[in-house]
Each structure stands twice: as structure tokens, then as C-alpha cells.
């Protein structure tokens, strides 16, 4: 099939529509997944800590 006008219209009206819907559902499921709540909470508050040094583990030492 050629990449012509009719083909792109068809693609936009079929796949284009459904992939955006699928994507929205996936994002909402991820966002409201109960197990993720604690991670998000931690991420939101951890940037407020004032410790201005990287966490170094043994692996980081030369």
C-alpha cells in the first residue's frame, strides 16, 4: 500500500484513535495503581531533604 493521503487518513482514524485511548487507560492505571502510592509519596517529599550530597556506595569508590 502506498503512503498516500487515503492511507494516512485511515491510519489516523483507526489506529490513531485507539492507541491514544489505550495509552490514556495505561497511564491512568499506572497512576492510580495502589502499590505505586507509596513510591509517589516518597518521591514528592524526598526532594525536600536538605542533604546536598550524593549517596555513595562501595561501587562508586574508585
Amino acid at each position: 500500500m502506498d503512503l498516500d493521503h487515503n492511507f494516512t487518513v485511515w491510519l489516523a482514524k483507526s489506529f490513531g484513535l485507539f492507541y491514544l485511548i489505550a495509552l490514556s487507560i495505561a497511564v491512568l492505571v499506572y497512576t492510580f495503581w495502589p502499590a505505586n502510592r507509596a513510591r509517589f509519596q516518597h518521591a514528592a517529599t524526598s526532594i525536600l531533604e536538605d542533604d546536598d550530597r550524593p549517596e555513595t556506595t562501595a561501587k562508586d569508590k574508585p
Binding site: 491514544l20 495509552l23 497512576t31 518521591a43 514528592a44 524526598s46 526532594i47 525536600l48 550524593p54 556506595t57
Partner: protein, 561 residues
């Protein structure tokens, strides 16, 4: 600066710089007699200066292993200074071209001083020079803190920052010589575009390397926005700049696209440059610096995730609203219009999230001009995204398009949102980066805030008035069905607004100059109580002697001097 690089990094730097010198030399030779030649000399000069810089510090002692216990902030510091230099240059040229529009006779009899060449110096200067440097500088800062890990090496961030500034320099100097590929916000020609691809891919890989080394399980949302900014700008830049140079010795190239495809590709690029350069990246800045400065976590972390995906996937389709009533197929115009209207949802979710974060900290907003910069930025973000969705509607666009309303809209976003959030973030980051108690002068921050706000309001109101008058005059018919006004009539009507616009821009420029002075004085001022600290309570950094990445010349000025 060179003392912070390991010996192998210094060698790599020399090799990279040697390649840059060879690249500049070949451009200068192949482009002899063409505009490419002078551009080659600029590259060559940059490479030679870099070589001298690295060689002068080549035998400096290597940095100690203790550097790994600190974040690597020097590229961020230099990036902020470069951002402020570009801000002053870009905004100065902006006032210049605004004055030229009000008084066209105020020009020199020289090609470089014409409006067409100066305008891209303004747009690229503020977007790429000021905005881009601020994004790179703050992204280095934020990625390290949110991942709790140091940048993986000392050379890559410098390559990204300085390489990017070489691109900006090639762009601005090229415009003045008359080099352009006539694509808005993508004016630089093929050789500069290829260089930017190299720099930008390195930037992306650097970000991935930091994320891979992160000590936090979850990637904080600011990083998502910064990553979207880097990744999408790479895609946009590569596709929109696909072109064939007429020869390796010529600055001129021809686009791979033509006709309406070219227009669509350009505005897919153009609108997503607004979306991912001027929005996503600066939202990343906001999601870190605003909670940090207010001392409160983001109001709804979940909302920030939903609006991230909304912004990322809706914006991609909105570009065709720039081409209403053109040869573009009608359904593509409608698609762009629909997605633009839908964009209001994630945009207002972000703006609302920011304002709700400040809810309960209004006393801080009242007292702290830095936080107020960020608050006003969120308000303007909400305003200009509403305005943008509205203007994308085809029937509204028939009034607004090609008028100064568009210019007003862009500046509500660029001055009110982008510049305000940047100044707020810079004022927050500068004392943290240089380990100062606060900015040199809180009163100057206050003065900058009011100048910036007044300048933005004068500018935007002038352009709203001018644009709507223009739009109405262009569509007013008399009884016989002919246009009631000539084009020159509308120009005369716009004149007072053009003067007001130049004044608004001048206010904004003065504010930026004050900001640059304040930042410079903050850097030059000794850290408050630094001397006392050493004797009373051994500071791990100060007691162990100065670390390699702190300049040895302790600033001589004291606070308030």
C-alpha cells in the same frame, strides 16, 4: 576548571578539540569565498581557544577521589552565567527590533542591521541562548539531586554545555551574515544542525547514564519532563532539518520537503519546539524548584504524571493549527485544532498543581520575590495555554492569525511563563550552588520582579490591542463590498502600540540586567560567616582545604558591599 578533569578526560578533551579545529579548518578551506568560510573560522577559533585552555591546565594535579562525595556543579554554574549573558544579549536585540518596528528609519545602511537578520538573533538568543543554557544548567543540577548521584564523568557535561554554546554562536553570527534556511526557530544551516545533533545526543545519553546510576527507586517527575524535552527536541530537530547542502563548501542547503509538506513539517517542529523546549523543560524546572523553594511537596504527584502524558501526547498533533486556511488538508487542520483544545486539560492541570502547591504558603509568596516569580510564571502558564487553545480554533484564528495577537500570545508565554520560571529558578539555585546564605540583594530581586511583571503586562496588552485592531481592520468591508482600510492604514493604527511594546520590552531588559548584576555580586560576595565557620565547627569541605573544584581566589567582597 581543567583541574577537575582526570588526566584521561584531559586527553579526551584535547582529541575532541583537535577534531573541532580540523572541522573548522576544513569548513574555512572548503567554504573559501562562501559564507561558510567565516563560520569555519569561528569554529576554528573556538577549537584553538579550547586547546589552549586545556593545555594550560594539563599538568595540574588530578582531582581527588573525595570529589565523588559531592555533586558536580561547575557546569551548572557556568551554564547559569552563560544563560544570563544570552538573556541580556537576546533581550537587547529584542528591544532593538521592537524599536525598528516603531521607527523603521532607525537603521544603519548595512545588511546585518536589517530587521530580517536581527530578529532571529533575538528569537534564537532568548530561546536557545537564554532558555537552552538555563535548561541545561538546571537539568544538571536537578538530575543529580533527584537521583542522588554525581554526574558520571567531568568531561561530558562540559562538552554538552560548551558545544551547545558553539551552536548558538554559529547561529547568531550566521544570521548577521545572512545565513538562514528560513524555517522559524530552525534558521541555522546544515553544518550547525549536524553539530547540534552530536551535542544533543550526547546530552541525552548523559541523562540516561545519570538515571541508570540513580539511588532513588522512582524517577522524580521533573526528570520525566527534562527527558521529554531532550528526546523530543532531538527528534524534531533531526526531521525538520533534513536537507541537502548544495556542496560541502556552501552554507546553503535545500530542505528534503517542499510545498505544504514542508510547511507541515516546519510547524510540527515549530509548535513542538514551544511544547517541548519552552514548556516541558521549564515544567521540569518548576516541578523541582517550586516545591523546593516553597518547602512543600508538589500538591498532587499523580496529577503531575497524568498531565505529563497528556502534554507529551497531545502536543505532538497540535502543530497544524499554525496552518489554518492554507493548502493543508482540512481534516489535518481540524485535527490540530481539536488537539490544541484538548491540551487545555493537562496544561491547566499543571498550572493548577503549581498554584495548589503554593496554597498554604502565600505568606512566603508575599515576602519572597523568588517564589513570586514562580507563582506569576504558573499564572501566565495557565493564561497563555488557555489563550493558545482559544486561538487554535479555526474561526478565532481567522481573526488572530498574521496579526500582533500571535506575537502577544508568544510573549505572554515567553516573558510571563518561561522567563519568570527561569529567573525564579536561577534566583533559587544561585545561592545553593555558590553556597551563599541568600542573593546579594533581595531588594534587587524585588526590583527585577516588578520590572519584569510591568514589562510583560505592557508588552502583552499592547500586542493584544494592536493585534485585534489589525485583525478587525483587515476584515472590515464598506457598503460596496470592498476592504474599508488599506494595509498602511492598519500600520498607522498600530504605531502607538509598537512604541508601547518597545517600552515594555525595555522594562523587561532592565530587569534582566539588574538580575545579571545581582547574580554577579552574589558570586563575588564571600559566603556569609565562612571564615567563622572554619574556626568554630570544622566544615567537611572547608576544613579539608579547598576542594579542587572551588576556585582558589576567595571573593574579596563582603555582603552588602
Amino acid at each position: 576548571m581543567i583541574g577537575q578533569l582526570t588526566v584521561s578526560e584531559r586527553q579526551s578533551a584535547l582529541i575532541i578539540l583537535l577534531f573541532i579545529v580540523l572541522w573548522g579548518l576544513s569548513m574555512a578551506i572548503a567554504g573559501h569565498g562562501d559564507l561558510l568560510g567565516p563560520q569555519g573560522w569561528i569554529v576554528l577559533l573556538a577549537g584553538v581557544l579550547g586547546l589552549f585552555g586545556v593545555m594550560s591546565g594539563y599538568y595540574a594535579p588530578e582531582p581527588g577521589a573525595d570529589r565523588l562525595t559531592r555533586y558536580y556543579d561547575d557546569p551548572s554554574k557556568v551554564g547559569i552565567i552563560l544563560a544570563m549573558i544570552w538573556a541580556v544579549i537576546g533581550m537587547f536585540v529584542g528591544v532593538w527590533v521592537a524599536t525598528l518596528l516603531a521607527y523603521p528609519d532607525l537603521t544603519f545602511d548595512a545588511g546585518w542591521a536589517s530587521f530580517g537578520r536581527l530578529r532571529p538573533v533575538h528569537t534564537s538568543g532568548v530561546i536557545f541562548g537564554f532558555g537552552g543554557n538555563a535548561l541545561i544548567a538546571t537539568s544538571f543540577y536537578v538530575m543529580q539531586r533527584t537521583c542522588r548521584t554525581r554526574l558520571p564523568d567531568q568531561l561530558t557535561p562540559w562538552f554538552v554545555l560548551l558545544g551547545y554554546n558553539l551552536f548558538c554562536l554559529l547561529a547568531a553570527s550566521g544570521y548577521l551574515m545572512g545565513i538562514t534556511q528560513s524555517k522559524e526557530y530552525a534558521e541555522p544551516e546544515w553544518y550547525a544542525d549536524i553539530w547540534l545533533v552530536i551535542v544533543w545526543v550526547t546530552y541525552f545519553v548523559l541523562y540516561l547514564r545519570v538515571l541508570m546510576r540513580r539511588k532513588e527507586p522512582h524517577i522524580y517527575v521533573a526528570n520525566w519532563y527534562y527527558m521529554a524535552f531532550i528526546l523530543v527536541v532531538a527528534i524534531l530537530h533531526i526531521v525538520n532539518n533534513l536537507a541537502m547542502p548544495i556542496s560541502f563548501g556552501s552554507a546553503k542547503s535545500y530542505s528534503a520537503f517542499s510545498g505544504v509538506q514542508d510547511a507541515m513539517t516546519q510547524w510540527w517542529y515549530g509548535h513542538n519546539a514551544v511544547a517541548f523546549f519552552l514548556t516541558a523543560g521549564f515544567l521540569g524546572m518548576m516541578y523541582y524548584f517550586m516545591p523546593k523553594r516553597a518547602g512543600r511537596p508538589i500538591y498532587s504527584y499523580r496529577l503531575s504524571i497524568i498531565s505529563f502524558w497528556g502534554i507529551t501526547f497531545f502536543y505532538m498533533w497540535a502543530g497544524s493549527h499554525h496552518l489554518h486556511y492554507t493548502a493543508l488538508p482540512h481534516w489535518v487542520q481540524t485535527l490540530g485544532m481539536t488537539f490544541s483544545v484538548m491540551l487545555l486539560v493537562p496544561s491547566w492541570a499543571s498550572a493548577g498543581n503549581a498554584l495548589m502547591t503554593l496554597n498554604g504558603a502565600w505568606h512566603k509568596v508575599r515576602d519572597d520575590a523568588t517564589l513570586r516569580f514562580m507563582m506569576v510564571a504558573a499564572v501566565f502558564y495557565g493564561l497563555s495555554t488557555f489563550e493558545g487553545s482559544f486561538m487554535a480554533i479555526r474561526s478565532v484564528n481567522s481573526l488572530s492569525h498574521y496579526t500582533d495577537w500571535t506575537v502577544g500570545h508568544v510573549h505572554a508565554g515567553a516573558l510571563g511563563w518561561v522567563a519568570m520560571i527561569t529567573f525564579g529558578s536561577i534566583y533559587a539555585a544561585v545561592p545553593w550552588l555558590w553556597k551563599r546564605e541568600a542573593m546579594y540583594s533581595a531588594r534587587l530581586v524585588e526590583a527585577h520582579f516588578w520590572l519584569a511583571l510591568a514589562g510583560t503586562l505592557i508588552y502583552v496588552f499592547a500586542m493584544w490591542n494592536s493585534g485585534i485592531i489589525q485583525g478587525l481592520m483587515w476584515r472590515t468591508y464598506n457598503e460596496s463590498g470592498r476592504l474599508a482600510y488599506s494595509f498602511i492604514d492598519s500600520l498607522v493604527a498600530m504605531h502607538p502600540y509598537y512604541i508601547a511594546r518597545a517600552i515594555g520590552g525595555l522594562f523587561f531588559l532592565i530587569g534582566a540586567v539588574i538580575g545579571a548584576y545581582n547574580i554577579w555580586m552574589t558570586i563575588r560576595t564571600a559566603p556569609e560567616g565562612a571564615a567563622a565557620k572554619v574556626s568554630e565547627r570544622p566544615d567537611p569541605v572547608l576544613a579539608g582545604g579547598l576542594p579542587a573544584d572551588v576556585p582558589a581566589n576567595i571573593p574579596a567582597l563582603q555582603p552588602g558591599e
